[in-house]
């Protein structure tokens, strides 16, 4: 147990990073804490903070092309599940003080936060389903242009291109963020309009598809908002005061930590995956004294930065694969618009290249989407179970 450098500063929180008990050990003992103040759980608490920090350092140390990729998101959720499990163990090992005030209130607060995260989990599950729908459209494109392995290599004809273009248009519409549908629809019409149907027909067709996609997209009510939900999760998430830390024998710290981790992970998921009203303006304020604060803040900044980039501002989700999907399909669409029939060898090679790129994205998604969905569901289950256990132990 490293000795604390308590320099008699007036704020008891100055040395938070070093230990949970902001005062010297002998001062704690002499203060006759109601729990008896034995620092036997200090090692446990410190180890928890360290492990959280390690995990997020790991997550933060990826290059930018890996950030917010499907594998990264899966890693993020894994990290959350591990943190939560360790948190649960701590609560279990400290069953008795957990039931006493103010710890009982702190735990109840955390559980309330966690329950709010359940709706986010459900929204994310919806979003994953949406992505799956897009991916199915891509499969049509691949099927049309020989990207799937089933069709033998035929030379690409006008028919196949028309088929692909139709699917690409549908994909573009499906990927529109709700807000921008009107404007982007016109834009898409223009970019896909040349070899395509006359504008009136395409508008009908698009409106019909749009209607379909939109009305079925969310299984939540129109008034549900991911942004609001995140704000509710982060509501009143405050660093524990010195007296709280003492009164709970240091246990207030892991509770705060877990709450912060929960908030960040949910926020990151909302950033990555499409859901209704995806606002990212949640206020994060983690004191740098915590070892995990730096990596989380850094991730937060990087993700926010990503969301502000010109070509990602209107994205319906910051998931890297969504970006790739959108880019590849757009490029392919532009290429498809510009080809003359019959294709010359160069064009054909170009098309095949783009198709391959698209296929890679599609394959990557196919592999990771289902496991991701299962993981999100697991988060849901664990939150429910931990809450139930907490209730039962009363």
């Amino acid at each position: 147990m490293p000795s604390t450098d308590y320099q008699g500063s007036s704020s008891p929180l100055t040395n938070l990073g070093r230990s949970f008990l902001p005062l010297r050990r002998d001062q704690v003992h002499s203060m006759e804490s109601p729990i008896g103040g034995s620092p036997s759980n200090e090692a446990e608490l410190e180890s928890f903070q360290r492990q959280v920090a390690d995990r997020f350092h790991d997550l933060a140390s990826v290059p930018s092309d890996e950030l917010l990729s499907l594998p990264w998101v899966r890693k993020l959720i894994d990290a959350f599940l591990c943190c939560q499990e360790e948190f649960r163990v701590i609560l279990f090992n400290n069953r008795t003080p957990v039931k006493k005030p103010p710890m009982d209130r702190l735990i109840a607060d955390y559980n309330e936060r966690a329950v709010k995260a359940l709706d986010v989990c459900n929204a994310i599950r919806d979003g994953i389903e949406q992505i799956r729908q897009w991916q199915k459209l891509i499969e049509i494109v691949l099927c049309a242009l020989g990207g799937d392995n089933n069709s033998y290599q035929r030379s690409l004809g006008e028919g196949q291109f028309r088929r692909a273009r139709k699917a690409l248009v549908d994909l573009a519409i499906a990927m529109l963020d709700e807000k921008d549908s009107g404007q982007a629809l016109a834009h898409r019409n223009r970019s896909f309009g040349r070899h395509n149907n006359s504008s009136s027909h395409s508008k009908d067709h698009h409106h019909r598809s749009l209607g379909h996609f939109r009305s079925l997209s969310w299984s939540v009510s129109r008034s549900w908002s991911a942004a609001r939900q995140l704000q509710a999760i982060g509501n009143n998430l405050a660093v524990p005061r010195g007296n709280e830390v003492l009164a709970t024998n240091g246990l207030a710290m892991p509770v705060y930590t877990m709450g912060s981790v929960l908030l960040f992970v949910m926020w990151a998921l909302v950033a990555a995956i499409p859901c209704q009203d995806r606002g990212l303006q949640v206020h994060f304020n983690f004191p740098r004294q915590f070892p995990w604060a730096a990596p989380i803040i850094s991730l937060h900044e990087r993700i926010l930065e990503e969301s502000k980039k010109r070509d990602r501002k209107n994205a319906c989700g910051l998931l890297r694969e969504i970006y790739q999907m959108e880019k590849c399909s757009r490029l392919l669409g532009e290429l498809a618009d510009s080809v003359q029939f019959p294709l010359n060898e160069e064009k054909e090679k170009e098309v095949k290249q783009r198709v391959n790129e698209l296929k890679q994205v599609s394959d990557a998604m196919k592999e990771d989407l289902e496991p991701l969905e299962k993981q999100v569901r697991e988060v849901f289950h664990r939150i429910v179970r931990n809450r139930t256990e907490g209730l039962d132990s009363l």
Binding site: I140, R154, R163, H212, F213, W224, H381
Partner: protein, 620 residues
């Protein structure tokens, strides 16, 4: 490049087929765009399909020569045009026949749950003490209605009833189109389009059934009464959804796609139904994880039973590998509901133990807590069939050796052979009594404390006797114990009040040794009478305002009092009145006749105040 002349009949067939396809290219002509083939004309439709077949045939027949390569591209192009057209036609037919189901007619009255007459009348609690009921969750809840178990006493058989969602002609058209689309490799388009149109219809049906899109947060924020009615509605709607809507969709998919390939009809079914199914179950899931409080028990049990009934149908409808997640989710929700029920029961037991109200019920009558708890466990015995299977562990009781004064203990030895549910019910009664004992201590008057216990334990006994299921579970042994308890309380009351009153009427201390003439100390005698009168008046005044709600019990106690009081007074009067009457102002001392006392006893435990004058008037 010029095509070689081919006088082959096939080629002509191909050319005319191509012509038909191109004629209906909606990108090429206004006319083609406006009309739908399958709506227009049976004959047109047949011709078109034949044309498609012809083109497909030529595609597979095409030789792989350089010349044919150009052909192939053209053929592909034609196919694509045909597929685009067929897609539109397919969608059009689907949308024409995809309105929401008329759901009102689907609620089969014979399969809906019936509510038997509520076994437990709402106990009007008119003597609500001024408890801090706002802080006391347990007392705050009054039984609004005791809708006894609908579904728990009624295990339904399968509610699967497939209805025809589309006319047969439409189905055969769809099948014809789908066959061609799929054989041309346009399976994905087919599935996606089918799913999106049918899902839209399902959405409308859902709205009609009153299935809402509620988040877990929404449900948490709702008042329980509002939730109760939503649960009721959900139970009815879920039966229709699973048994009729989903089953019919499955049938439709089979009709359209099965002859093409079994996986395909499954894929279309899942595409249509997966989202709605998840949405349907999300409500039950949200209920299963909502905060637990005692009043929720019965509706949660209703929900549990309804879902349990639905499980076989769910398994029948969602029987493929791709629908695993739905079956799994339903099973999870069921087990969470069971857990919730167990947790609520446990929470209920703790709540009784902790129930903190300290303000004593005026008049020592039945405490609202007692009413609430006994009503509650009577209802529990109604749900016995379900609960017996759900409740599997014994209650966690205090141990005899724990020394924890705040928990009663219960010896289970004599309760061998009882189901865990029965043990819980007995435990609840034990805990209730324990709490009542604590409350009785807040009465300043010990007699009132005893009366209070007597009233409440008697009420418990009456309630148990009044319900055969409850009685059977509690058992006559324990019932006897309870009976003994309230009789004991009655005895303690009598001792507490009347010993000192009757003490005034004792013989000792009145006789003075020495003088021959009187032998009785007149002053002592006068004191006795005065004391007796004062005491009796006080007791009368006070205990008239006390209440024993049960008529029979009230009578019995009064009789018991009279049996001791009246003979004692009569004999006292008989022996000593002459001494008083021979002195001054006898009326100051002998205020009451025996009849007066007899009448006065009738005032006891009525719950009404009596005035001193009333007592006096009678004596005039």
């Amino acid at each position: 490049m010029e095509l070689p002349e081919n006088p082959n009949k096939d080629n002509n067939g191909y050319e005319s087929a191509e012509k038909i396809i191109l004629r209906w290219d909606s990108t090429a002509s206004e006319d083609a765009r406006e009309k739908m083939i399958f709506e227009t004309d049976r004959h047109e439709a047949d011709l078109y399909l034949q044309a498609v077949d012809e083109i497909q045939r030529s595609l597979s027949n095409a030789s792989i020569s350089a010349a044919a390569a150009y052909d192939q591209s053209k053929v592909n192009s034609t196919i694509q045009i045909a597929m685009a057209r067929l897609e539109d036609e397919f969608r059009n037919i689907l949308m024409t026949h995809s309105s929401a189901l008329e759901t009102d007619s689907l609620f089969d009255p014979s399969s809906s749950s019936f509510s038997s007459s509520s076994h437990h009348e709402l106990e009007e609690d008119d003597t609500v003490s001024n408890e801090d009921s706002s802080h006391n969750g347990l007392l705050h809840f009054q039984f609004q209605h005791c809708e006894s178990s609908d579904s728990s006493t009624y295990r339904s058989t399968s509610s699967i009833r497939e209805v025809d969602l589309m006319p047969a002609e439409a189905i055969s058209d769809l099948q014809a189109i789908a066959t061609r689309m799929i054989s041309s490799g346009y399976l994905r388009e087919c599935i996606q389009m089918y799913g999106s149109v049918r899902k839209s219809a399902m959405d409308s049906s859902f709205s009609k059934l009153g299935i809402e899109k509620l988040s877990i947060g929404d449900i948490q924020r709702l008042e329980w009464e509002a939730l109760e009615s939503k649960i009721r509605r959900w139970i009815r709607a879920a039966k229709v959804c699973v048994g009729i809507l989903f089953a019919s969709e499955k049938k439709l998919c089979e009709l359209i796609f099965e002859c093409i390939g079994t996986d395909i009809d499954d894929a279309c079914f899942m595409e249509t139904v997966k989202g709605p199914a998840i949405q349907l179950f999300s409500f039950a899931e949200a209920i299963s994880i909502s905060r637990r409080s005692p009043e929720k028990l019965f509706k949660i049990l209703d929900l549990h039973d309804a879902l349990m009934d639905l499980l076989p149908d769910i398994e029948a409808v969602f029987d493929s590998k791709s629908s695993d997640s739905i079956r799994v989710q339903a099973a999870e929700i069921l087990s969470r509901l069971a857990e919730a029920a167990r947790g609520i029961l446990s929470e209920f037991e703790s709540a009784i133990l902790r129930e903190p109200s300290r303000v004593p019920v005026p008049g020592g009558t039945i405490h609202p807590l007692t009413r609430y708890v006994m009503n509650y466990i009577s209802l529990i015995s109604d749900y016995k069939q379900t609960l017996i299977e759900l409740i599997m562990s014994k209650p966690s009781t205090g141990s005899r050796y724990s020394g924890d004064q705040s928990i009663p203990d219960m010896e289970f030895a004599e309760l061998e052979g009882k189901t865990p549910l029965a043990l819980h019910l007995i435990w609840i009664i034990v805990v209730l009594q324990f709490n009542l004992e604590g409350k009785s201590k807040h009465y300043r008057d010990a007699s009132l404390a005893h009366l209070f216990i007597m009233n409440n334990v008697h009420y418990i006994v009456q309630k148990v006797k009044g319900s055969p299921e409850l009685r059977e579970m509690i058992g006559d042994d324990y019932l006897r114990k309870l009976t003994g308890k309230f009789r004991q309380a009655a005895t303690s009351y009598q001792r507490a009040t009347w010993v000192s009153v009757l003490y005034c009427l004792r013989d000792e201390g009145l006789h003075v040794s020495g003088s021959f003439s009187s032998g009785v100390s007149k002053s002592a005698l006068r004191e006795r009478f005065k004391t007796f009168n004062a005491m009796f008046e006080e007791v009368h005044r006070t205990q008239a305002t006390w209440l024993i709600p049960d008529t029979q019990l009230r009578e019995e106690l009064r009789i018991s009092i009279s049996e001791k009081l009246i003979p004692a007074y009569r004999s006292f009067l008989g022996r000593f009145r002459s001494h008083i009457e021979s002195g001054k102002h006898p009326e100051n001392y002998i205020k009451y006749s025996v009849e007066d006392l007899e009448t006065a006893v009738l005032d006891f435990f009525e719950g009404y105040p009596v005035s001193h004058q009333q007592l006096r008037k009678r004596s005039q």
